[in-house]
Symmetry: C2
Subunit: 346 residues, 2 copies
């Protein structure tokens, strides 16, 4: 699927992997510096955290895929620590994004003015069906205007309370993690990595095409196996209404593909390939995960004791809306994937 930019015969595995890991380690350290500056300023550290997380995921992904090209014991240890770090860093922003997504959906469903594009034929910026979704004129909530305006406001306040609390807790956990000796050990290890990558001497001396490419192909075949287990024929049929039936585990195969796709993408990045389509497909699966978690947050909020029926009704609408977005993300992924699977120009 991806075009290789590195010369697979003229370079060694150690040169290619080393260069990639060093550049990601440098990005990590830059993100860390940015994050410390932001924390000192008490300003928003979203961009810094994103840089940190992105680099941490790329390093840990490469250490997994190309494990045998590195000193394995070192690679396994650092990888575990980077997974811990990136998941810790992710939580705070995930709660903030989830709240923004849910409040945005409430605003849209309430037919709030300010986005009055009811018809449009512009091409989709990301997924095939993602463009302009949910843009419509002013209006009322589900034909129940007025009587549910209260419900909508209360549902928004309830979600804000619950998700802000979760975010605050995650923020404390992040601060605690970043001040821990465990974190300092990770930062030290990455600082070493930025100048000197501990490689397996024999494997690293092999040609890129002989060593890295087969390992990357293994990551791709794991992904392909997982994708082939997805109900893609079903997902290709719009409005199949599958996603609204939550059997408790229908999302898992999609989440698995999301993780495997990311691993595959980072391996291709390390090889210097063009990962535009992989990034687009991954974006659809990110939206899939985000919508699924937003729907779950709405269902959780609806179980709060003593809420008004109008609040519960709006949370039900919101839950269904986000499950609808889950279904839309599956459709987008299928479209991108089917398109990417075809040879170029066909």
């Amino acid at each position: 699927m991806a075009q290789q930019n590195h010369d697979l015969t003229a370079t060694t595995a150690g040169e290619v992997l080393g260069a990639y890991l060093r550049s990601q380690a440098t990005a990590f350290l830059r993100g860390l510096r940015l994050h410390e500056e932001r924390t000192a300023d008490a300003t928003d550290g979203t961009e810094a955290a994103r840089t940190l997380r992105g680099a941490a995921r790329r390093i840990s992904g490469s250490l997994g895929t190309f494990r045998t090209v590195c000193e394995s014991a070192w690679a396994d240890g650092l990888r575990t620590e980077l997974v811990w770090l990136s998941s810790t860093l992710a939580d705070e922003h995930a709660y903030a994004d989830r709240l923004a997504r849910l409040l945005g959906a409430l605003h849209r469903l309430s037919g709030a003015p300010g986005a009055g594009q009811a018809q449009g034929g512009l091409p989709a910026p990301r997924g095939a069906a993602a463009a302009g979704r949910g843009q419509a004129g002013p209006g009322a909530f589900g034909g129940t205007a007025g009587s549910l305006t209260v419900g909508s406001a209360r549902a928004g306040a309830l979600l804000e309370r619950q998700l802000t609390l979760a975010r605050t807790r995650a923020h404390s956990a992040t601060l605690q993690a970043l001040g821990s000796s465990r974190f300092h050990a990770v930062a030290d290890a990455v600082a070493v990595l930025a100048s000197e990558v501990p490689l397996d001497t024999v494997a690293a001396a092999g040609r890129t095409g002989d060593v890295l490419v087969p390992l990357a192909a293994l990551a791709e075949s794991r992904l392909d196996t997982a994708v082939s287990a997805l109900p893609l024929i079903r997902a290709a049929r719009p409005y199949n209404a599958d996603a609204l039936i939550d059997d408790g585990h229908q999302d898992s195969p999609w989440h698995d593909v999301r993780r495997l796709l990311r691993t595959h993408r980072y391996a291709q990045e390390a090889l210097g390939a063009d990962v535009t389509r992989l990034a687009a497909a991954g974006g659809a699966l990110d939206r899939h995960r985000d919508a699924a978690e937003a729907a779950a947050a709405s269902a959780t909020a609806a179980r709060t004791p003593r809420i008004a029926p109008a609040t519960a009704y709006v949370l039900g609408v919101l839950h269904a809306d986000q499950r609808h977005e889950v279904e839309a993300a599956r459709f987008d992924f299928q479209q991108i994937w089917a398109h990417a699977a075809r040879p170029a120009g066909v």
Copy 2:
């Protein structure tokens, strides 16, 4: 769009329209007889009522489109009465269908077993996206299993109570209408129509191609104007999430097209044309109307005083699900319409 079967030059307008009206009048009388037998047996009169309504709609539609070919005063009078009759007859079954649709959706959303087809590639029987919609394995309600099973059962009971009451009232109204002197006058007029159609002598003597075809073309152009006002580019983009934003009048243009499409279809039927595609497009708009009314019924039920939050939550999910079906029906209509607009074989 439709192929004419009648010879447009060898037949007169009176022959073609007369034959169509007589055959529909005969169908009306057969439906009436069936209905009387069923009522006497106290059995379900669904089929009889459908025959009656279908014939009444076709007669009134033709009297409208081809008004100038008939004795106009007579045509206007009978048409008004037939519209009254078919709308009276429609109510009872509409409530029954609405309840069945909502209980079916509740069953499906609750992940009830018995329809466990999670992936399938069979072609759609009606609209492009209609096939297999909402078939999935067993599961729980929106990730909130158990805690909302009660809500689902209560929501079902509430809808059943409200819609059964409405149906019973409509049934009484139907019985009252069928026993009225107003109805007997309609039945007498249709009985006359079955043997002798009051036509305008001059217009009826004209050739079919010169008289009926231009009148049918007028009905088609009214339809085309209404269709061109629909946001079809938007509807062609799956998961646009427009339908969930109820601004109180976004459905109206679609309902207008539904009525104009029916009029056009009956005119084409009278001319002996193949109306398969028009019927399919009309079917999508029928589903659009049914889903919109089911969503409204769910919203109405949610405004019942003193319901439990869990009940309200489920009604919210159900409302959103049916608005999702509204959007799916628009997509189906767009697909059928775009397909039908293309020349055959392209």
